[in-house]
Symmetry: C2
């Protein structure tokens, strides 16, 4: 971290800050990997807190390395980084799945309790215990049990897949490459030239590349239906709530895309400013809203999917319908929140 520069334009070489950031993330990746192995990530679905933390750190640094390789690719050895990115995406995707199923289950069961007017949510209690308390209707209790069964199964499978991935030769190749990164970042010649001395290399400097990432984000946001989203209760998110199409809602895709671009922008800022990166409340709130958007959209899809289980009781299907609509309204609410966060700060800082 000693090689970071607070102002990269004043600094000598564009590649220095980039190399320092990638080295730090690679080191963090290797540390998390060690921790994951030591704390028995292999144990069970409900792993220890340490194992969960280690898996999160692994995902976190894998995403940052991958995003940074993407945003600053002109400064890095092309063949090397182009080969590495899909492998990192595979890894973080595989690791993320287990976490996502767990979070989705928690979100849906909490929503079922909220919709039953029951504030208490004993997350570890079995659905039988909850039903006995008379807090849930038969339909809600059965829907909860069905979702718990389906998502626990999916989570267990994702856990096995993650363990298998971490033991695979494919993963070891990734880990080897990250180890290389921790010691020697493969910069291009342009990156190792002082950015301020040559016009030719200036375009390949950190700042223009980070600015390009921000531009891609802003362009994508411009394409969002923000006027509609800013109008409360626009009923847009549930417009295909009963359509025959079982595929993910196409209206969600541009929002998911903005979520990814926002993340790349955030990582680029981390590269630029290092440890001195300011907390940008706008980015934070906008990002949180888009996370909520994604989570609610996937939870809604899970409820709809559970409702297609053969031979379920009508009361179960009814509860799943209410749950689906509720989560689609969460999607709408998240878009509203994003719109507010994004517009307010744009006005505030002209």
């Amino acid at each position: 971290m000693a090689q970071q520069h607070l102002d990269p334009t004043a600094g000598p070489v564009a590649g220095d800050a980039l190399a320092a950031y990638l080295r730090a993330q690679a080191t963090e990746f290797l540390r998390a990997l060690r921790q994951h192995r030591e704390t028995g990530g292999a144990a069970a679905v409900n792993g220890s807190k340490e194992a969960v933390d280690a898996a999160r750190s692994l995902r976190r640094s894998a995403r940052r390395i991958s995003g940074t390789l993407h945003t600053f690719r002109p400064l890095l050895d092309e063949g090397w980084s182009e080969a590495m990115r899909p492998e990192l995406a595979w890894l973080s995707g595989t690791l993320a799945r287990e976490h996502a199923y767990g979070a989705r289950q928690e979100r849906l069961l909490a929503a079922l309790h909220r919709l039953s007017g029951s504030a208490a949510f004993p997350s570890q209690a079995s659905s039988e215990v909850r039903a006995e308390k008379g807090q849930l209707t038969v339909g809600a209790a059965k829907a909860g049990a069905l979702l718990e069964r389906q998502l626990t199964l999916a989570r267990t499978r994702a856990h096995s897949a993650a363990l298998q991935a971490l033991g695979s030769s494919r993963f070891h190749a990734v880990a080897d490459n990250v180890a290389v990164l921790a010691s020697e970042v493969p910069l291009t010649a342009a990156a190792t030239t002082a950015a301020t001395t040559a016009t030719a290399t200036a375009s390949a400097g950190l700042k223009p590349l980070a600015a390009a990432a921000e531009d891609r984000l802003c362009d994508a946001v411009t394409g969002l239906p923000l006027v509609t989203a800013g109008h409360p209760y626009n009923s847009e998110a549930l417009v295909h709530g009963l359509s025959a199409d079982t595929a993910p809602q196409p209206q969600d895709a541009p929002w998911h895309q903005v979520r990814l671009l926002l993340r790349l922008h955030r990582y680029a800022r981390e590269v630029l400013f290092g440890d001195e990166v300011r907390l940008d409340v706008r980015l934070l709130n906008a990002g949180k809203a888009l996370d909520r958007h994604r989570d609610a959209a996937e939870a809604a899809a899970a409820a709809a999917s559970a409702a297609r289980t053969p031979r379920i009781a009508p009361a179960t299907a009814y509860a799943l319908g209410v749950l689906h609509a509720d989560q689609r309204h969460e999607v709408e609410a998240a878009r509203f929140t994003f719109q507010r966060a994004w517009m307010r700060e744009t006005v505030g800082t002209p």
Copy 2:
């Protein structure tokens, strides 16, 4: 109408404006009744436009007479008006039911189409025709057919009940009383004394009684959870979306009560200002929001009730669950709209 006074405080007798208003409403009631009989209100559920208009006019004037008897009761013969009010309420309630079932059916089928991403809504086409167009899923089409069946049955029964009521001796007694009102309003001695000449009668004047009706409205609004309602996407309306209780949601009751008090306030203004009554946009918007609140709440209850039909398919139940949640969100949206309408004008006119 010649006896109306534009400013009742400056006018000679409090009872004059009141008597003129009641006479006008009674005349309108008798005219609508004649029209209803002539245009064959007895014909069918889908009566002619004239029959529908006549029934609406009947309800409209019955509500106004009843509300006015209530608000200005110190100015009217107590025994007479206390005997008449429940009869008018019975009549307008009986007449309203047929209309309500029709409107509810239309609202729910339109929502099913909206939720299926189908903009077109052929209100007269059978559900088979709509399903053939491939616009609705099997579940949505079946839910629509079930609701259509149940609400058409309810509407037909309400229509018969209304016809039976209009032919009953109970109704003839009401009509006789309204005919009396059209020629001679039974005012008390206080009402026929000049309001401005005696302090004792001033309290029984039109203005204080109308102000008391407005106070009751404002007090009731103060009791509403307006802070929550003004916060978009508060998820409050669906909080009992899956509770076992099949009774109407208790959280709706204070809003329904405000709706009735708002109506009484509006009628009192009509009495005070006669034909010169200003259009109050605030009251108009607030009233519309509360009408929508009531309609959506009842539509949500109808969807939930249909879902309890024995032996329905899970896909039907699922669609009804989505529909129920959608209508409860309409309830929430209506509360938001009411809050905005009410607060904006309060701030605007201090």
